[in-house]
Amino acid sequence: MRNEIRFLLGHEMRSLRSVDPTMTVLDYLRQDERLVGTKEGCNEGDCGACTVVLARLVDGGLRYEAVNACIQFVGTLDGCQLLTVEHLVGEDGSLHPVQQAMVDCHGSQCGFCTPGFVMSLFALTRHSETVPDDGVIDDVFAGNLCRCTGYAPIVRAAGQAYELKPRQDHIAAREAETIAALGRLADTETVAVGDGERRFFAPATADALAELFEANPEATIVAGSTDVGLWVTKEMRRLDTVIYLGRIAELARIEEGADGIEIGAGINYTEAMATLARHYPDMGEVIRRLGSVQIRNAGTIGGNVANGSPIGDSPPLLIAAGAMLHLRRGDARRSMPIEDFFLDYGKQDRAPGEFVEKIVVPYPAGGTRFRAYKIAKRFDQDISAVLAAFQLWLDGDEIKEARVAFGGMAATPKRAPAVEARLAGSPWNEDTVQAAMAALEQDFTPITDWRASADYRLRVSQNLLMRCYVETTDATQDTRLVGDRSLAHV
């Protein structure tokens, strides 16, 4: 056991012993460190005014990630370097290239969103050696709201920043030092801080996690904190015991195993995306539109599944792909087809002390078509009104088998048995599609809320089946929702 959290704030070491388990990084910066450059615009992960960058030690190098300070707990900083807008300024007070570019392009008006954009842009320059196209830049900024500038000047600033050699800055100059310092912090002790009733644990191994959680089944597991953070900041829930997964290397993996793609419960969307997209391009596309860069840098598929929301984006994808969910409690393990996990609204098949270990997604067999569509009010960073995922095994023109799943259409993410039955064994043609569209009405009676009416949900879902048909049969059709936008992988 280690009873302190250790991290670098800029280049200064911090060790904290008495930490409230749900104190956010934002409150810590603004209140304890009085570093007020990082702003609070929503406290819900939506606006990006609080964006900071975390540098983590990965394979001997540093990986920089923009995250929302407002929904991350201080304990999750353990072993990282935390960089804020204040740290970008050179030691002589000179502006960092990304800051200078924002000045040159008039990327700041009121200045309130600015530190967040600066940090998102700084993170981009660490990921991409050369200036990416505008689609990627839009994606990088999807998690940053600006009400003043209309964004174009900020997008231009991203291009301009690359003219100013942003990767050759004082932070890069001290990278070796940072790597060494973070290296000294790495250990396999379980971190346990807090006092009395309110405790924060960060085990470093899956076994330690299993033991801890079994012993403290009332604890709240935190992976990326993109759901849990909001329980605290928005719903004002009090969480006394928190167990954080982020230090467990075994869970933070995605592997192409014998039976399929093994998604560790702790791997975030950003890291999982490329592998998934390689086998299922449409999964990549949906993930690219899930949340924002900041959310994807923290949020996990494991958390999305465990949370069990009917509008979570990954469950329908995983159901249509035929994924298996692997759970563990103490030393006991079990697995199930992922659709069986979702029992009812807010209710999943998970025992106290039991956690998601991994999700295994079979590789697509030859002759399958996999399509997924997200319908929302806005392209980026929006909750789905409907998420549809289709997988069809075709033998020539005949559909051998179909797996169809929807989010947003029922109290849980759910398969569409009537549609599947209507498709299986039929020729893949327009008549079949029409019949399957009709069958959808037996599978779902969606609700009307103000986000979308029942009618819209149902008809659009039917239309998506037709769109899937058109796309899989006529390669020249440009009917994707993502449409003319290239898949932006950052």
Binding site: R34, V36, T38, K39, G41, E44, D46, C47, T84, V85, E86, L88, L95, Q99, Q100, M102, D104, H106, S108, Q109, C110, G111, F112, C113, P115, V118, D138, D139, F141, A142, N144, L145, C146, R147, C148, T149, G150, Y151, A152, P153, I154, K234, I375, K377, R378, F379, D380, A385, W450, A452, S453, R459, V460, N463, R467, Q477, D478, T479, L481, G483
Partner: protein, 784 residues
């Protein structure tokens, strides 16, 4: 401008000077209200009504008061007992019959009844914000809920729930302007009448910085200081001091430091300002409050919310004869500072737009509903007018089978007709509307649109081109004082009563002074938003700052020049007439005798070196009063592509040509247009304020539920300036802050409707969300 010609300078007018304020904004050193800390401070949390309409039967604060760390729990009873007066509106209007409008009392904490979700009911002050939040949950309020009304169109229905006894049918104002008889006569004689029911949707303003304030009380001096995230320090100070706390204005200082965007909503007097000051006085400790985003959604004034019936009368040649608009404006549960005024004259003043329309009549009824109060939002009244007019013109063109551009050209007020007096009495001194529109059409390659539409059709998509010729009048208080102070340390301070909250005033005012007097740009400092440092001011709003404050600064500079020449003449023992001011120095013409203005400022401090009877100091203040309203105008062209199966609207291109008169800093001005257009696009396509009918709950109460545009939602935007400088002020400026938002609403919706026109769709209300568009397509194609 009357200044001597100065050599072109990097920092002069017309240059895209980099912003002075950016150094601190980019490094995280901007100082916004929430960034200030005070010794002994305590934190306030407001308990808000969960009901849209309810009687308060009782409030039990016992448990909250007992929580450790709670310093005070205050309700409307204490407020009344302490004699804190209600928050008055800043402007009211008179009914058509000459009587005063109905203004309900608005106490800072509800007394007896709540009328919108989010209305303050109690305030907890505690040692930490967490404790204050916990304590609000311990307050027990006994509510008896009442039926609520939130919908604008039905607020006046018989049987609709009533908010106030004094406002039968919830109507608080019945106002009109224009010649009703002439308008009716023109309609009666018209060859064609186009008529449209439309909604100018309600918008949640959402500046990224939440509202915040800190109240301080100085017991010795008996005076208050308020740190306020605001757009109008003096107005806030004046109202709070004189009306609410009944003190002389000098005893309430308002400081507005860096402000993270306002767009109108931070101009106003809010209950929380009263609460932090009042609590600070009761407790003798600094009291701070910062809105959470959810609170912002429930308590920042919202924008627009007009339901209109708009009609245009045309003769057989397609000439406009008359315009008639009947509006119901929803101003929310209380009359906010300018809430009652915005739907009146600010709409009327631009009715008629860029067109020669002989008769115009405008009739508005304002209704009180169980919603958050509505007040000025970027454009304030003028977008409502421009949207109605430009939608009508497109509709008329469609109904008559005319080209909408040709119809506009036929009816534009011609340059030769200037000065032109509109039917509403506005006098335009200049404007070249056809030239501006033609340039925009060229920029947008309107000629190539048919081919682009055909290409979209091949892909199963609907394409539309929307044109809007917008017309704005700059408004806001007509006066301003700008002062210049020469400091001992060799810097020069500009003090203004206007209030930048992102518009780059620190830079543009300095450019004006630099250009006019040749003072070194780097030596110029800037002060705004502090009633303790600046004697008077009228803040931000109506695109007024450069026009009023900028011209006031020119007047101050005139006085400085006069004084400087006098002192220089005395210094060199020359005639005043022989002194010229150039490049920041006074010189004796034809000699090499010269003295720098900075040195003159030093000389000016020493009475012994001044001419007889001259007061020391080179400082000066200029008072400017607007001589004539200015009329920014321009053309917006939007091009959209729609997916029929889902109703998703893609904005493919967006073009703007603006006539703002003289442009002082093109980079900053461009920024204003970009930002305004983004907000307009937001309202037109995605920002959807949804109140649940029966309960009056705001359903779209977070950024996740209320879509403001993100980077990806913005099309490529091209902006050009076609300046027709006005002669009505020395700078030649017309104003630029709101224009983008005014042109965008009709341009975008005209484009959407243009795309849907082949299906027989004649109108779609904002926001044109995917579901709404899909629904319209479905109704048009399936007949249900």
């Amino acid at each position: 401008m009357r200044s001597e010609p100065v050599p072109p300078s990097r920092f002069g007018l017309g240059q895209s000077v980099r912003r002075v304020e950016d150094q601190r904004f980019l490094t995280g050193h901007g100082r916004f209200v929430d960034d200030f800390q005070f010794a002994g401070q305590v934190h306030a949390q407001v308990l808000r009504s969960p009901h849209a309409h309810a009687e308060i039967r009782g409030i039990d604060v016992t448990a909250a008061t007992e929580l450790s760390g709670v310093v005070a729990v205050l309700t409307g009873d204490e407020l009344a007992a302490d004699g804190i007066a209600v928050i008055p509106p800043g402007a009211t209007a008179q009914n058509r019959d000459g009587s005063d409008m109905f203004v309900p009392p608005r106490p800072a904490l509800a007394q007896g009844r709540v009328r919108h979700v989010g209305e303050p009911v109690a305030v907890v002050v505690a040692e930490s914000i967490e404790i204050a939040r916990d304590a609000t949950e311990l307050i027990e309020v006994d509510y008896e809920t009442l039926p609520a009304v939130t919908d604008t169109g039905s607020a006046m229905d018989p049987g609709a729930p009533q908010l106030y006894e004094g406002a039968p049918r919830n109507q608080c104002l019945d106002w009109e302007k224009g010649d009703r008889a002439a308008t009716e006569a023109a309609f009666a004689a018209a060859a064609h009448v186009s008529s449209l029911e439309l909604v100018n949707s309600r918008v949640v303003v959402n500046p990224v910085e939440p509202r915040a304030c800190i109240g301080l009380w100085d017991a010795d001096g008996g005076s208050f200081t308020l740190y306020n995230s605001g757009q109008a320090a003096h107005n806030v100070a004046r109202t709070l001091a004189t009306a609410v706390f009944q003190l002389p204005m000098e005893r309430l200082r308002v400081i507005s430091p860096d402000v993270g965007g306002g767009f109108g909503t931070k101009n106003f007097i809010y209950p929380e300002q009263v609460l932090v000051l009042w609590a600070a006085r009761r407790l003798g400790r600094p009291v701070r409050w910062t809105a959470q985003r959810t609170e912002g959604f429930l308590s920042d004034t919202q924008g627009r919310d007009h339901v209109m019936r708009a009609e245009l009368a045309l003769d057989g040649d397609g000439r406009f004869l008359a315009l008639r608009i009947v509006t119901t404006a929803n101003i929310g549960a209380y009359v906010s500072t300018f809430g009652a005024m915005i739907p009146t004259n600010p709409v009327a003043v631009v009715l008629g737009g860029t067109y020669d329309i002989p008769a115009v009549h405008y009739h508005v009824r304002e209704v009180l509903t169980n919603t958050v109060p509505v007040d000025a939002y970027r454009g304030a009244g003028r977008p409502e007018a421009a949207y109605a007019i430009e939608r009508l013109v497109d509709l008329a063109a469609a109904e008559l089978g005319l080209d909408p551009v040709a119809l506009r050209r036929r009816n534009f007020i011609r340059p030769k007709a200037m000065p032109y007096k509109t039917a509403m009495g506005s006098v335009l001194d200049c404007g070249e509307f056809a030239r501006v529109l033609d340039r925009a059409l060229g920029q947008a390659d309107a000629a190539g649109f048919a081919a682009r539409r055909a290409e979209s059709e091949r892909r199963g998509r609907l394409r539309g081109l929307g044109v809007a010729s917008y017309f704005e009048a700059t408004l806001g208080p007509p006066n301003e004082r700008s002062a210049v102070r020469f400091e001992e340390d060799g810097t020069v301070t500009i003090l203004v009563g206007t209030m930048s909250n992102g518009q780059g005033h620190e830079t543009t005012y300095a450019q004006i002074l630099h250009q006019r007097l040749g003072l070194p740009f780097e030596a110029i400092r800037f002060v705004q938003g502090d009633t303790g440092a600046i004697p008077s001011g009228f803040g931000h709003g109506g695109s007024r700052s450069m026009q009023i404050g900028g011209n006031a600064l020119l007047l101050a500079a005139d006085l400085i020049e006069e004084k400087a020449k006098r002192i220089a003449a005395h210094h060199f023992e020359a005639q005043e007439a022989d002194i010229e001011l150039a490049s920041g120095a006074c010189r004796v013409v034809g000699t090499d005798l010269a003295v720098d203005l900075m040195d003159l400022a030093k000389i000016a401090r020493d009475p012994s070196r001044l001419p007889e009877g001259m007061a020391p100091g080179l400082d000066a203040a200029g008072d400017y009063a607007r001589e004539a309203t200015t009329f920014p105008n321009g053309a917006h062209i939007a091009e959209v592509e729609i997916e029929p199966e889902t109703g998703v609207v893609h904005l493919r291109a967006y073009h703007v040509v603006d006539d703002f008169g003289t442009v002082l800093n093109p980079m900053i001005t461009m920024g204003q247009v970009h930002g305004g257009v983004a907000q307009g696009i937001g309202q037109a396509l995605m920002e959807h304020t949804v109140y649940e009918g029966e309960t009056g709950q705001l359903l779209s109460g977070s950024f996740m539920d209320y879509c403001v545009p993100r980077a990806d939602d913005m099309p490529t935007l091209e902006v050009a300036f076609e300046a027709v400088p006005t002669k009505t002020n020395a700078l030649g400026v017309k104003g630029c802050g709101e224009a983008g938002c005014i042109g965008a609403l009709p341009a975008v919706i005209n484009a959407v409707v243009d795309a849907l026109k082949p299906l027989g769709i004649r109108h779609i209300d904002m926001p044109a969300t995917p579901e709404r568009v899909w629904r319209a397509i479905r109704a048009a194609t399936s007949g249900d």
